[in-house]
Amino acid sequence: MSIQEGNNANIKWIGVTSVLFGVLLIANHGNEILRQFVIVPDSVAESAVVADCRPDELEEENLSLKECHLMVSNVQIILASSPSWFRPVSVCLYLLGFLFALFSLLSGMRFITSPDSAQRSLRASFVSLTAIDFLIFATVSTTGPLLRSIYLWPNLLWFFIHLALLAAVVSYNSGSTQEVN
């Protein structure tokens, strides 16, 4: 008697985790795109304007005066450490990542109900997301230590998540065609 090992194994988890990480990645990349649109070069944080830390606002936000001043430094760190090409390149990469995350979410949903027909699109989405993670990593690596400290580690985590999911989708393919006696 022969059974198809891949068909017997529970492969639903691949689709479900793809959907879960797709949702989280859309949120993450959406926020990154927003960040790039909010913190723009030549904005007020680059000039010598001092933070406006009104006592009532500090109380409202539960902040110390020092924290209030450091919030401006937070923006200055991004502006001072971003080369001029960084913003347009990262907007493009995060936008692409956002779209492929959406694609992986939809493919993951299809994979749960019909894995055979959705497998190709799910594989394509993870190949693209892994490539985008790699490109973001390479882009940030060429900047200074301040940006690297913000971006590199979370980016590496996403890279391995997508690599693991890609391996899972690819192994489903080989598992389903391998016959076990």
């Binding site: 479900v16 985790t17 859309i26 926020n31 927003l34 007020v44 409202e60 902040l63 209030c68 919030m71």
Partner: protein
């Protein structure tokens, strides 16, 4: 094949899921931006977007609740499993928490003196005078209800993953497009 209502429910579920995670991640980030003043306007766009997404989620929740109530009437005489009953209650708690986050956020914003423009198209009429103590009260309520919501969402995802790994059919309908 799922019908139109089922499809729109699935769509709403995932739209709300993405929006809630986006609101969490963006709020943690935007609250570290410089406090608003004449010079520093970094918070303007993220806050408007935050409020707009919150208002939209609230409207979707009202719609989903309406469907749920109408369906509950239909199923009044039919017997449902214990686990389904529990799931129904948990969903209602999550809806309640989402609505609480939205309402407290809206009230906090109303008492803060900052206006709200719905998707940059419609200015919402300001019905409340600026009031710092009420703003802080509702802002605290917003904060804590959102932490509880995050906890509930984590539980919800944990249970969904459990059913997926167990390979039962309980969650399949949420992935049917």
């Amino acid at each position: 094949m799922p019908n139109k209502v089922e499809r729109s429910k699935v769509f709403s579920h995932w739209l709300i899921a993405i929006s809630i995670f986006f609101l969490f991640v963006s709020s943690w980030w935007m609250l570290a931006l410089p406090l608003p003043s004449e010079n520093f306007t970094y918070r303007q766009l993220p806050f408007q977007l935050h409020k707009n997404i919150g208002i939209t989620i609230f409207l979707i929740i009202i719609w989903l609740l309406t469907i749920r109530i109408l369906k509950a009437r239909e199923r009044f005489h039919s017997s449902i499993k214990k686990s389904e009953k529990l799931a129904e209650r948990v969903h209602l708690v999550i809806y309640f928490l989402i609505a609480s986050c939205c309402i407290s956020g809206y009230l906090s914003s109303s008492y803060s003196g900052w206006g709200t423009t719905v998707w940059w198209l419609l200015d919402l009429t300001s019905w409340a005078e600026e009031n710092d103590s009420l703003n802080i009260l509702f802002s605290d309520f917003h904060l804590w209800s959102c932490w509880v919501l995050l906890l509930a969402v984590v539980g919800h995802i944990g249970v969904a993953l459990y059913h997926a790994f167990k390979n039962d059919q309980d969650i399949d309908k949420m992935y049917r497009w």
